[in-house]
């Protein structure tokens, strides 16, 4: 009898060890949660999530837990889907400014940002600790055409599998920061002219060996999304003119003053990747997000880390709610909207059947500044756990 108990104890111990410390073996686990923010399907109180082989098999209040399954008891916790950072530059280098932009050539459409990414960077751990499970790695804004961003999951300890998209599109910048004094373009008019010239060339590109034009050709055909940096009203207006002219499948990045022409953005169904809201931002700027979302613009938050702190991603959403953004929209902006914009909504962005088991477990309401992140799970494996002090 005692022997049997001891044996079962040993088995439980080994399984839980596997789960928490190694977490590599695929298996079924059940997570009991106080509140599950499914994002697409409302909030479930006292629910259960069944994770099978890294995917969510079932979620709900009345779910049959198979026998012999480990139960992770989180009945006093909140669970949200893994946060998606729609634009950041983590893991690129210590000297971020040199690694993000190939400023020698203004048009770098054929360059892949993934080639510069270090999956063992400290930033990755920091991102996990702030609840971010997926990021879009992007080139910077100092080139009119900066390169191709990538979408990666942050469980980079495994050898492969973490790259969702090697090339998620092409990054454009119509901001004044793309101007340089010693290479073309040096003026705004020259910048727009250069971009149009490239797209004109790409439009008529047939065959041959020109990787730059080949990529841009796919952008013109709206096969590949164009991520366009544009901050002020005039920058956004010129971006929209180019989008209309070349029929781009575009996403606006950092449309800070977008609320002033929000109706025009909404009319074109342009999603917006919004830059971080900081505690130090002006009230006027903090109110812009709510206004823009109110006009029907689809928003996703971005940290632009390491320019800013990665923790700012959730803080952005919290500040946006404080200054007039709908609570639901804020949570969507952290998860499903970002997934839809990046084209990975079939796998990520919400807690629903069939999606990846990327979960963030908090000790309170996710949109309360006081609640902190207890545990982060990617593909059913625990990748971060807060240390008890």
């Amino acid at each position: 009898m005692i022997k049997k108990r001891f044996l079962s104890f040993l088995i439980v111990l080994s399984i839980s060890l596997c789960l928490t410390s190694f977490g590599n073996e695929p298996q079924v686990i059940a997570i009991r949660a106080g509140k599950i923010w499914t994002v697409t399907d409302g909030v479930i109180t006292d629910g259960i999530i069944i994770v099978d082989n890294g995917k969510i098999r079932a979620v709900g209040q009345e779910v049959d837990v198979p026998e012999g399954v480990n139960i992770l008891d989180m009945s006093d916790k909140n669970i949200i889907p893994g946060i998606i950072d729609a634009h950041c530059h983590i893991g690129l280098s210590l000297d971020i400014f040199s690694e993000m932009d190939e400023t020698v050539a203004a048009i770098a459409a054929d360059m892949l940002i993934l080639d510069a990414f270090n999956p063992h960077s400290k930033d990755v751990k920091k991102a996990l600790s702030s609840g971010v499970t997926t990021v879009m790695l992007a080139p910077g804004y100092r080139n009119p055409v900066g390169g191709q961003p990538a979408v990666v999951k942050l469980d980079t300890s495994k050898a492969n599998d973490w790259v969702l998209k090697r090339s998620a599109g092409v990054e454009f910048s119509l901001m004044n920061q793309a101007l340089m004094f010693d290479r073309e373009p040096t003026s705004r008019a020259g910048l727009i002219e250069l971009v149009k010239e490239q797209l004109n060339e790409a439009k008529v590109y047939q065959e041959g060996f020109n990787p730059r034009l080949e990529v841009l050709n796919r952008v013109v055909d709206a096969n590949l999304p164009a991520y366009i940096w544009a901050h002020t009203v005039d920058e956004i207006a010129s971006a929209m003119a180019i989008i209309d002219q070349y029929n781009l499948n575009a996403v606006l990045v950092a449309a800070g003053q977008g609320d002033e022409i929000a109706d025009m953005i909404a009319k074109r169904d342009l999603p917006v990747i919004y830059p971080p809201l900081l505690l130090s931002s002006k009230d006027k700027d903090l109110k812009r997000v709510g206004k823009m979302a109110g006009s029907g613009v689809k928003l996703a938050f971005a940290s632009l880390a390491p320019r800013t702190d990665l923790n700012d991603l959730r803080t952005s959403a919290i500040l946006a709610v404080k200054y007039g953004l709908d609570k639901e929209a804020a949570l969507k902006g952290l998860t499903i909207n970002a997934a839809e914009i990046l084209g990975v909504a079939d796998r990520l962005g919400s807690i629903s059947e069939g999606k990846d088991a990327d979960l963030v477990i908090l000790n309170g309401d996710p949109l309360q500044p006081a609640s902190s992140i207890e545990m982060v799970i990617i593909n059913g494996n625990i990748v971060y756990q807060r240390l008890e002090e």
């Binding site: 010693d182 073309e184 705004r188 008019a189 020259g190 003119a241």
Partner: protein, 402 residues
């Protein structure tokens, strides 16, 4: 029959009571209206409907629903047209990567949120020509805009209005000629001298001429220049000194170009030639740049009597702020031009209808006539008095400054 009567009465009622309410009507009562195109009107009324002038004259009945702007003691003029205006543009005006950039459109760089816009409106300017910077030999295409609107597209009234060419020494600024040192960036290039500027200009048009018969022209730069050669786009030449103006005339003769001179501070020395060829000039800025050094200072002196002399021999003269609204605004420029010998009526035309004609927008702006845009400036007194100030500016029928 009865039903028809009822219906007719109803329709009549609708037209009487509702229809005028649809269109927003504004009436401006003025002590004196300087229409520019015709005789001045005393105690007149301007009726504005949908941003256009619906009627103008004395004894006009003001509709009941109209918003009345009473300027009974003021002088009313058409909004000023500044053909050498300040640039509400973000960033550098000059694309420095090349000296020949005809495809550059300054309309791509317009900034409706610019603080300059507010300042421009305060000086009574309601239409302005914005050209690319003046440090390239061929700078690019200018645009005619109104200082209103939320996005650049709403400002523009005529895109590709003119090609800006610079023939002073300004394009040589910053250029170095590679001798022993390696050419590390694009500033190691021509032109370094005046003859190189003229050579580059001549070569560009020569290349365009060579390509004129091919269809379509593959090089976008030459495509624009060949349009210029076909007189579809006018050329604004920045030339200050007489020697430069003469050189420009020579190149123009070679290629049959249609010129308009900007700045033109030494225009009085070649007044006869300009009059003979019917070349209009846009004068301004009337301000000495203390920052300019050496060769870039050439021809920067202020010649106030220039306007009078040019106008007298029959040259079409427009006055502009030259991008310096804080020092000499357009109305002050006209005042000083009169003080130094220009005819009064000529001076008033030089800030309204003449620049509008030069820019090719005279069918919309430049004078107060039926059917034109309701761009109106209300002045506290005689426009050519230095103590006069701009009291109110109406742009497309809406008060934008008070």
């Amino acid at each position: 029959m009865r039903i028809y009567v009822i219906l007719l009465t109803f329709l009549l009622l609708v037209t009487v009571f509702i229809a005028p309410g649809w269109a927003e009507v504004t009436a401006v009562k003025a002590g004196r209206i300087l229409t520019i195109s015709g005789e001045p009107i005393t105690d007149g009324v301007i009726l504005i409907e949908d941003g256009k002038i619906a009627d103008i004259g004395t004894g006009i009945e003001i509709p009941e629903n109209a918003t009345v702007i009473d300027a009974g003691k003021s002088v009313v003029m058409p909004g000023f047209v500044d053909a050498s205006a300040v640039q509400p543009v973000r960033g550098d005006l000059n694309e420095q990567s090349s000296e020949i950039t005809p495809t550059l459109r300054i309309s791509d760089a317009l900034d409706p949120q610019s603080k300059v816009i507010k300042r421009v409106v305060q000086t009574g300017v309601t239409t302005l020509f914005i050209s690319p910077g003046r440090q390239n030999v061929i700078s690019g295409l200018g645009v005619v805009v109104k200082p209103t609107g939320n996005i650049p597209q709403q400002m523009i009234i005529k895109d590709e209005a003119a090609l800006t060419v610079v023939m002073d020494m300004d394009p040589t600024q910053g250029n170095r000629i590679p001798r022993r040192e390696p050419a590390v960036n694009f500033y190691y290039r021509r032109p370094g001298t005046r003859m190189a500027i003229i050579w580059m200009l001549r070569k560009s048009f020569f290349d365009a001429q060579q390509q004129a018969d091919t269809e379509p022209i593959s090089d976008p730069n030459l495509a624009i220049l060949s349009e210029v050669l076909k007189d579809e786009i006018p050329i604004h030449v920045n030339a200050r000194r007489a020697i430069v103006i003469r050189a420009a005339l020579k190149v123009a003769d070679e290629y049959g170009l249609k010129l308009i001179f900007q700045e033109c501070t030494e225009g009085y020395r070649v007044a006869e030639q300009l009059a003979e060829r019917k070349i209009p000039v846009v004068l301004g800025p009337f301000y000495y740049y203390p920052g300019s050094i050496g060769q870039y200072r050439e021809g920067r002196q202020v010649n106030w009597n220039n306007a009078g002399i040019l106008a007298e021999v029959g040259v079409k003269v427009a006055l502009g702020s030259g991008g310096q609204p804080d020092t000499i605004d357009i109305l002050t420029a006209a005042t000083f031009a009169v003080r130094h010998g220009m005819d009064r009526d000529e001076a008033l035309k030089a800030i309204t209808i003449t620049p509008a004609e030069i820019l090719g927008v005279a069918e919309r702006v430049g004078s107060l006539e039926k059917g034109k845009d309701a761009d109106i400036v209300v002045l506290s007194g005689d426009p050519l008095d230095v103590t006069t100030r701009v009291e109110k500016v109406i742009l497309n029928g809406k008060t934008v400054y008070q």
